[in-house]
């Protein structure tokens, strides 16, 4: 039965996320934007509170994205993917940089949740996991990864360089993508859970960024890093049939999460702008034609419509994952739409509010900066368009490059 409202059972969780966002993130938002690379100690407290709440019920963290394995009985399911997306929207309404800094909520955790076997899931439970894919010479083209993993007895030996590792400095472990055989392309790429303290795993530096400055972004050098074979996520075989599927499956779960982040930031900007404009006497009317209203009101309506589209696409992708439906297409649609409108909306809100929005006295300018990364990481706008286009057109990555 078609219904696009959020179920009542998530009210508590959404409320919990709202409270955390309003009471912990917002008050610290500007502080850690200004003091880049300073560890936001306040969120440790918040994280342990949330851990407690998560144990008690359905969590709002990235650890909740484990794919439902039980076969569906035909009735619809609203589960961990949907609740995680909803929690993420609320938290990012508070501050996206601080959410990315939340202990044990990293994208590496999402990867572990998505592809780890039961033994691994148990062993890595409670660890904060960052994700290392990008290299100096390879970004979106993750098949071109040059970091190598060479089998040596019960271990793999990893060598290479990794950049743009979110929470790399603060995490307990890093999920590192490396190739078993550079000659064999995508199928040879595997992900390894690497302990931060492993010898040879060296933090080179932290980036200075346009936005999400509360979140640390690290560069690593891997110099003969020995990782036990049990830390390889997924199958150790180079299966050219399944190809990239193992590692790429992570994206089907993480892209809706990044879309949710963009939806959350844009929601914050829209709410603030609506309030600022209302004080200035401009309030959009949902019934009257936009062209008969103040241009700023008409713009707000347009932005809100784009936002709603991104929001619903995000929910759709998560709902499909909850119901064991293949959702690569919808996950990329959500990420594409949310990524681009996240930037559009936050920047337009700055414009609508004028110097009030441009000034550091308000958070609008910060949201305008924070939003941009969400159209880049976990697959840029253009990568999402490629994924969507290939699916719709029935093209392979060889045909449509």
């Amino acid at each position: 039965m078609i219904n696009l409202e959020v179920p009542k059972k998530f009210t508590g969780l959404v409320n919990q996320a709202q409270q955390a966002a309003a009471e912990f993130f917002r008050p610290n938002s500007r502080k850690y934007d200004s003091a880049e690379h300073t560890y936001p100690t306040e969120i440790d407290m918040l994280a342990s509170v949330l851990d407690g709440l998560n144990e008690a019920g359905e969590g709002s963290g990235a650890s909740g994205v484990r794919r439902a394995s039980e076969k569906s009985d035909g009735s619809t399911r609203n589960g961990g993917n949907l609740s995680t997306v909803l929690g993420t929207i609320e938290m990012c309404w508070g501050d996206v940089g601080l959410l990315l800094s939340m202990p044990r909520q990293g994208l590496g955790n999402a990867a572990i949740a998505s592809v780890a076997n039961d033994e691994q899931a148990e062993r890595f439970a409670g660890k904060w996991a960052a994700m290392a894919i990008t290299e100096p010479e390879c970004g979106s083209d993750s098949a071109a990864i040059r970091t190598t993993a060479t089998r040596d007895g019960d271990h793999y030996v990893l060598n290479g360089n990794k950049i743009f590792v979110t929470s790399g400095e603060r995490a307990d472990v890093v999920v590192v993508w490396a190739t078993l055989d550079p000659e064999r392309g995508r199928a040879a790429i595997k992900s390894f859970v690497v302990d931060r303290n492993t010898p040879g795993f060296e933090l080179v530096r932290l980036e200075h960024k346009l936005g999400i400055r509360a979140s640390d972004t690290a560069e690593f050098r891997l110099d003969n890093v020995r990782v036990h074979k049990d830390n390889l996520l997924g199958s150790p075989e180079i299966d050219t049939e399944r190809g990239f599927a193992g590692v790429m499956q992570t994206f089907d779960n993480t892209r809706p999460l990044v879309a949710a982040m963009a939806v959350g930031v844009a929601k914050a900007a829209l709410e603030e702008t609506r309030a600022v404009l209302a004080e200035a006497g401009v309030e959009p009317d949902h019934d009257r034609p936009a062209n008969s209203q103040h241009a700023a009101a008409a713009t707000l309506l347009k932005l809100e419509a784009d936002w709603e589209s991104a929001y619903l696409l995000t929910l759709e992708a998560a709902w499909m994952a909850d119901n064991s439906q293949p959702n690569s297409l919808q996950a990329s649609m959500a990420k594409a739409k949310a990524g681009r409108v996240g930037t559009d909306i936050t920047l337009k809100c700055v414009e609508l509010c004028g110097t009030l929005g441009y000034s550091e006295n308000s958070l609008l300018e910060k949201w305008g900066r924070d939003a941009k990364i969400l159209d880049i990481f976990e697959g840029t706008q253009q990568i999402q368009q490629l994924v969507v286009a290939r699916r719709l057109l029935g093209k392979s990555s060889k045909q449509l490059r």
Binding site: E5, T76, W319, Q385, R390, L400
Partner: protein, 455 residues
């Protein structure tokens, strides 16, 4: 006299706002033009007797009386107005249509593919739906879902989602013909939602019988920045009844319609809906062929001193009823936009895969492929916005915000999809060999239309 609709005759205003003064050369050219036009008309036999009564749908400006309406008489009285209850509130987020809805979708899709799509091009050029097509649609029961069982329909509860799915599936065949087929159910749905027991008794039986009348919900007016909440068409109370004056535009099957629901401002208190039978004195119709939706025989409805009984007022003049009507109508337009945009996507994909340029299919180029990706993404968003508004409406939740957002997005992105569809076919998109140019014209309507259809 009627408020005269603005005409486009004579010199048009240039963009810079300065109307070109007609000089000596201009006067000669204008006279020549008039003369040439006359000769052409005579030679081609297009000139018809001045007292023509036929409604000529392909040409603007011909005015004729409204169609002779049947006598709408109550056969059976209802004790109270028959209303559909709200659908039960649902708790879980779910995008799966019910089994019944999937069955209806299948049926309507088949109808659209077999009856609407093949007839669309001819209907577009003749500005007339094929004979009997709206009747066939009525036989399928598209009108009946919105009418309560107790009043002869098949509805047991509010079924806005089902009606939305029907409109979407129809528009995949052709938007103009979908409007032609769905126009009567806008009127019967209005009667089911807001008619009192007398109005329902008088009019609803015609819509549940074998010979469903053409009927139209007329809201638009021919002026710039039209706002359905600030109408020029006036109704004044007179001798217990009402007198209507004004011009309504975008009226589907105007020449055939036997019953209109007309939006008019009641004594300056705001807009209300009135039931107007086509043979009421003072009612005339003008053909108003437009950019698109031509299969729906669009016309203008001219109301000159039209005297109505007290029973003509629909929904008691309640402002909330009128708002509800505008919102549901916009929702129906969103559904039509989704169906037509899907048609564009379905047509464009095989085309760009088969069309070869520079030695490979054009779809292997990102410039082409990314446009297809954007069509797919925006279309899915339009659909979800529309479904959300529909599901809220049928569950009796507020849906003003959701409809507004759906319409904003469907008007803008729907038009963009129409434009990209033509662009992706290149020159082939611009010619009538392919239906894409028609969809381009049809999709422009979504940002313009008020009224006409209702879910």
């Amino acid at each position: 006299m009627t408020p005269k609709a603005p005409t486009t005759a004579g010199a048009t205003t240039p963009v810079n706002g300065r109307r070109g003064r007609r000089d000596a050369i201009g006067r000669v050219l204008a006279a020549l033009n008039a003369l040439a036009g006359t000769r052409f008309l005579d030679r081609s036999g297009l000139r018809k007797p001045a007292q023509r009564v036929m409604f000529e749908a392909t040409r603007t400006g011909f005015r004729t009386l409204g169609a002779a309406s049947r006598s709408f008489k109550a056969v059976q009285r209802f004790g109270k107005p028959e209303r559909l209850p709200d659908a039960p509130r649902k708790d879980l987020f779910d995008l799966t249509p019910s089994d019944e809805q999937q069955m209806i979708q299948e049926t309507v899709r088949e109808f659209a593919a077999e009856q609407l799509r093949p007839a669309a091009a001819d209907a577009d050029s003749s500005c007339t739906p094929p004979d009997g097509l709206p009747g066939q649609a009525a036989e399928m029961g598209v009108t009946l879902v919105g009418i309560p069982e107790s009043a002869g329909g098949i509805g047991t509860e509010q079924s806005v989602v089902t009606s939305t799915l029907v409109a979407e599936a129809m528009a995949h065949g052709d938007m103009g013909l979908a409007v032609a087929c769905l126009a009567p159910s806008a009127v019967s749905t209005a009667l089911s939602l807001w008619g009192d027991e007398e109005q329902q008794a008088a009019y609803l039986p015609s819509f549940t019988g074998d010979n469903v009348p053409a009927a139209a919900l007329a809201v638009c007016e021919p002026r710039p920045l039209f706002d359905p909440f600030a109408l020029s068409t006036r109704a004044r109370r007179s001798g217990g009844g009402f007198v209507l004056d004004g011009v309504k535009s975008l009226v589907p099957r105007a020449g055939d319609a036997e019953l209109f629901v007309v939006a008019a401002d009641l004594d300056g208190t705001g807009p209300s809906l009135f039931l107007v039978e086509s043979s009421t004195p003072g009612v005339s119709v003008e053909a108003d062929p437009s950019m698109g939706l031509r299969g729906a025989s669009m016309g203008r409805l001219v109301l000159e001193n039209v005297q109505l009984q007290p029973t003509a007022l629909l929904g008691g003049g309640d402002a909330e009823v009128y708002r509800d009507c505008i919102r549901r109508s916009r929702l129906a337009w969103c559904a039509l936009a989704v169906g037509t945009a899907q048609a564009v996507q379905d047509y464009v994909i095989p085309y760009v895969n088969e069309r070869v340029a520079f030695g490979e299919p054009v779809s292997h180029r990102q410039g082409v492929a990314f446009k297809v990706a954007d069509i797919g993404t925006e279309l899915e968003g339009m659909r979800l916005l529309t479904y959300r508004a529909a599901s809220r409406a049928e569950q009796g939740r507020s849906f003003a915000r959701e409809v507004a957002l759906a319409r904003t997005q469907c008007a803008e992105k729907g038009m963009a999809i129409g434009s990209d569809g033509v662009q992706l076919l290149g020159g082939h998109g611009f010619v009538k060999e392919h239906p894409v140019e028609r969809w381009y014209r049809d999709l422009r309507a979504v940002g313009v239309a008020e009224g006409v259809v209702l879910v």
